[in-house]
Structure formats: C-alpha cells, structure tokens
C-alpha cells in the first residue's frame, strides 16, 4: 500500500478557453510526504492542479489510489478525497471564518452528519489558533496570511487522500512564510501533498520529490534534494539562481515587497495572478 503512488497521471492535456495550457503531463505522487511541482512562470503548474480538480477542460488519465477520476466533476473528485488550496486562497470574503470552515466540512460516510473527526478539528485548531480566534470575523477582512490559513484549514478539516496546494507562500512576509511552511510540514505527516511552490527554500525544506514542468510538459522528475542541490540544473530547469542563495533571496525580497502592498492591492494582485495563471 505504502509503496503505491496515491496519484498517477498519464498524458494529461488541458485547455482554457480553447487554448492548450498542458501538452502532456505525466507524473506520480507518492503516498507520503510532499511532492513539489516546480517550473518557471506560465509553464502550467497551476493549470495542472486545476486540470486534476476538473476545474478546466482536460483529457488524459488520472488515477487516485488506483481509481480513475479523470471523468468526474470537480465536486466528485473532491469527495473521493482530494483537498484543494488554490493559488489565491479563494476564501469566501463575505462569509465568516467559521462559515468558510463549515462550508468545507464534508459529510463523510453514512456514519455522522459531518465527516470531520475530533482529531481533525484538533489538528486545525493546533495549526491555526489565529484563525480559530477570529471565527466570527469576515474572511475578506483577514490579512493575506490569515486567509491562507483559512484556505489550508478548509482542506485539512476533511480526511483526504491527497492535498493539492498552489503557491501557499505567495505574497506573504518571511515570518508568515515560515508559519505556513510549518503548517504544511505537519499536514504532510497525515496526508500526501502535491505542492506548487516558487519559493525554492520552502520547496527544499518540505519536498521529498520534485516534478519540473516546462511548456506544459514534465521535463524532470526525481528526488527534490538531488535537483535543488544541483545548481546548474536549477538554473537550467527553473531559470533562477546563478550564485548560491541568490534564488532564495530574490524570491524572498519579491515576496516581501508584494506583502507590503498586499492589503491595498489585494484585488489588483488577484487579477494579475489570474492573468498569469491563464497565460
């Protein structure tokens, strides 16, 4: 059981508004730990997650624990045990934190009304005490970091077989990047994660395996450490770095500056992100 990958993707293609965004993606996600999905901007990382979720038109085979899910509607994919944390958090701004979480609670088997076990509630409470304290606050009034916690909590409340997490540290201050990374590290102990991450420091810390995309195709797959410690391959495949540490500091400073303008320009940055994701 433990050796079989939780997710097997073969020949996945996808289109957005008629335009091909994934050419041919084949990858496997092991049943434990974090698998990082890496690549330059616009190579199809976000599209891959959306295609797996059925949020965009896709074809190819997707097997979750050996069962095909490539023809299922999005909500059915989720009900099979896939948690999704989208790129821009996509919390419901007009709903309270508690309502966001309540909405995410899936009714489990025939047993209880809600499938959320006390252990899961405890896990979410331990990981994100901040947002539990703000239960009655509207999610739209939270900071970017807190919204990210809500988005992660929504996925962690349920017993999932796999989490798809899209750039959870984007636009966060270094302190919050640390908090989110800690939370993901703990989450990955109970559920395997396919993680899209631009911050290579975070990827290096969390990921056991790495898959690199370029032009809508997989161009590399293997242990994350082998790739991320090999500077020439990092430069060749991810187009960053050059000197040791440069890639990290570049990303850090980029994230930091984004965070400063986060509150004022959140909508703007979301639009920008959407454009980036579809380009």
């Amino acid at each position: 059981m433990s050796t079989r990958p939780v997710l097997v993707v073969r020949g996945l293609t996808a289109r957005i508004a008629g335009q091909q965004v994934l050419e041919d993606v084949s990858l496997e996600v092991p049943a434990r730990g974090v698998t990082a999905l890496l690549g330059r901007n616009g190579v199809g990382k976000t599209s891959t997650l959306k295609a797996l979720m059925g949020l965009i038109e896709r074809s190819g085979t997707i097997e979750l624990d050996g069962e095909p899910v490539d023809r299922l509607a999005t909500h059915k994919v989720v009900q099979r045990g896939v948690g999704y944390v989208p790129e821009d958090r996509e919390v419901f701004g007009s709903l309270t934190v508690a309502e966001n979480l309540r909405l995410a609670e899936r009714s489990g088997g025939r047993g209880g009304r809600h499938g959320v076990s006390p252990e899961r509630r405890e896990l979410v409470g331990d990981l994100f005490p901040d947002i539990i304290d703000r239960s009655s606050q509207r999610a739209g009034t939270l900071s970017g970091g807190q919204q990210q916690m809500v988005a992660l909590a929504r996925a962690l409340l349920n017993e999932n077989r796999l989490l798809l997490v899209d750039e959870p540290t984007k636009g966060l201050s270094p302190r919050l990047v640390g908090e989110v990374t800690d939370a993901l590290e703990k989450a990955a102990q109970v559920v395997p994660v396919l993680l899209v991450e631009q911050n290579l420091t975070v990827a290096r810390r969390l990921a056991g395996d790495a898959v690199v995309l370029d032009g809508g195709r997989v161009v590399h797959a293997g242990p994350a450490a082998d790739l991320l410690d090999d500077e020439s391959r990092v430069v060749a495949l991810l187009g960053v770095g050059g000197e040791p540490g440069q890639s990290q500091s570049q990303h850090q400073s980029q994230h930091q500056s984004q965070d400063q303008s986060q509150d004022q320009s959140q909508h703007q940055s979301q639009q920008h992100d959407t454009a980036e994701a579809t380009s």
Binding site: L55, H75, L103
Partner: protein
C-alpha cells in the same frame, strides 16, 4: 401632504411587488449567471393558480386569500424547479442558450395562458377589508398596500433567515461569491441552483397572487409587465444582492409613483433614466459585488 403620503405608501406597496419578482431574479443571476426571462411567467401562473383557488372557495374570505398565497407560492416553486431541471440544467454554463430558452419559455407560456384562461383579464376579489381605506397622516390609504408590504417584508425576512441559518443558504451565499470554489470544496452546487429557482419561483408566485389583488385582475401579460421593472430593480440593486434588490425596489417604485403624479405620467421614463444614471456611476449596481 396627504397626496404625498398616499403616493409614498402606494410606491412602497408597488415596490413590494417588484421585490417579490426581483429577489428571485437577483439570487438566480447571482448564483448561476442566468437571466431568467421566464420569471414573469412564474408570477402569472401563481396569480392564475391563486385565482382558481379563490373562485372555488367562498370568494372574499381571508382563508381563501391565505390559501391562494400558499397555492400560488407552491405552483410558482414547482414550475421554477421544473424549468431549472428540464431546461436550464441541460444548458449548464451556456449562458446565451440559457437566456434564449427562458425567453422562448416566456413567450410560449403567455400563449399557453391565453389558451387556457383566455386573452381577457379575469377579475379577482379578496376580503372586503382590502378594498377599505384607513387614514394615515391625513391620507386615505387602501388596505391592499399594507398586505403587499407586510407579505414582502415577511418574504424578505424569510429568505434572509434561510440564507443565514441553513446549509443550503451557506452554499448559496458562497456560490454567489465564487461558484467554482464551492465545487472545489466537494459541494454539488447544482443542488443550490434548484433551491434558488424554487425560492425565486415561490416568491414570484406570491407576487402574482398579491399583484392580482392589487390590480384587481389577472391577465396573461401580468408577469411580463412587472418583469421589466423587476429587471431594472435587479440591475440597479446589484445583480446577486438581495438587500440591493429590496432597496432598489422601494426607490424605483416610489420614484415612479412621484413622477407619474407630479411630472405628468413620466414615471417609466424616470425609472429608465435612473437605471442609466446608476449604470454610469456604479456599473455594478448599488450593492453589486464586482465592477
């Protein structure tokens, strides 16, 4: 002064009718992106159903009116559910086709009503109390206004409570904001589509019975004549916003009454000008979510 009071109360009463139609339109558009041109037919059918009930009962009793309202709401809801399941759902995400099918349904049902109940209006009477008047600040206010306002307020509170305190309501509120994320939480949002159609249809059916009391008759065109203003109200209030629809209903109807009386029957023109002004200044409407 007494004329002004009468105009204001009449405006609020008419606004109540607009709201009963607009609330459904706004919820349906907000959640599904569907402009439902068949909504007027739900109203007309509710009105005829109410009339059928009242003519079978001893005319003019309160029981008959209450039963008419219940039957009108039920018929409106059932027809709306059937519309959603049989027509709208098959055209999921195809908005142009959805609009076309609702326009077609509106035209076809008016012809159907012609065939069943005739092209002439049928006259409706309710409890005698509704035809009486009471003095309010020197004005003699016909009682039917109070009925319209009371029922519309009850419907508004009912829908608000439903949205706030039920899981379906939670799904609907979230879906209005971001439908694809609702599905990405494992929720079959199509269930919520059917529910908003049912709510909208029930409100329109109630609106139909009340409109027939207010105007004193039902005709096959009743729904279409109110639907135009309900659409304007929905756009002014902000598509998807229930509170916006409520506020805009009052503003539009009161303005219409005042302009009709003080500016020689220019009520409809003034409403269209208000629509244009709102679209220029706030394209998303008074309480609309996005620009």
């Amino acid at each position: 002064m007494s004329t002004l009071v009468l105009l204001l109360v009449t405006g609020v009463g008419l606004g109540a009718l607009y709201f009963l139609v607009a609330s459904g339109l706004s919820l349906i558009y907000g959640l599904m992106g569907v402009l439902n041109f068949a909504h007027g037919s739900f109203l007309t059918l509710g009105a005829y159903a109410g009339w059928e009930v009242s003519r079978r009962m001893s005319d003019g009793s309160w029981l008959s009116l209450v039963l008419s309202l219940v039957v009108g709401a039920a018929v409106g809801a059932l027809v709306a559910i059937a519309t959603e399941l049989l027509l709208i759902r098959r055209l999921y995400e195809r908005h142009v086709e959805q609009v076309l099918v609702t326009v077609g349904l509106a035209l076809a049902t008016v012809a159907l009503f012609d065939g069943i109940w005739g092209t002439d209006a049928v006259y409706v009477s309710g409890p005698a109390w509704l035809d009486e008047t009471s003095g309010v600040l020197g004005a003699q206010i016909p009682h039917d206004r109070f009925l319209l306002i009371g029922v519309a307020v009850a419907v508004l509170l009912g829908i608000v409570a439903f949205l706030r305190f039920t899981r379906f309501g939670l799904v609907i509120r979230a879906g209005v904001e971001n439908r694809s994320m609702v599905t990405a939480l494992g929720i079959d949002v199509r269930m919520a589509f059917t529910v908003v159609f049912a709510i909208g249809g029930a409100a329109a059916g109630i609106g139909g019975v009340l409109a027939s009391q207010y105007f004193g008759y039902v005709s096959p065109q009743l729904g279409a004549s109110l639907l135009i203003f309900a659409f304007i109200v929905t756009v002014i209030g902000g598509l998807g916003s229930l509170l916006g629809a409520a506020i805009a209903s009052l503003a539009v109807a009161v303005l219409q009454q005042l302009a009709n009386f003080y500016a020689s029957g220019t009520g409809d023109l003034v409403v269209v000008l208000l629509l244009a002004a709102v679209l220029l200044v706030r394209p998303s409407g008074l309480m609309g979510a996005r620009a």
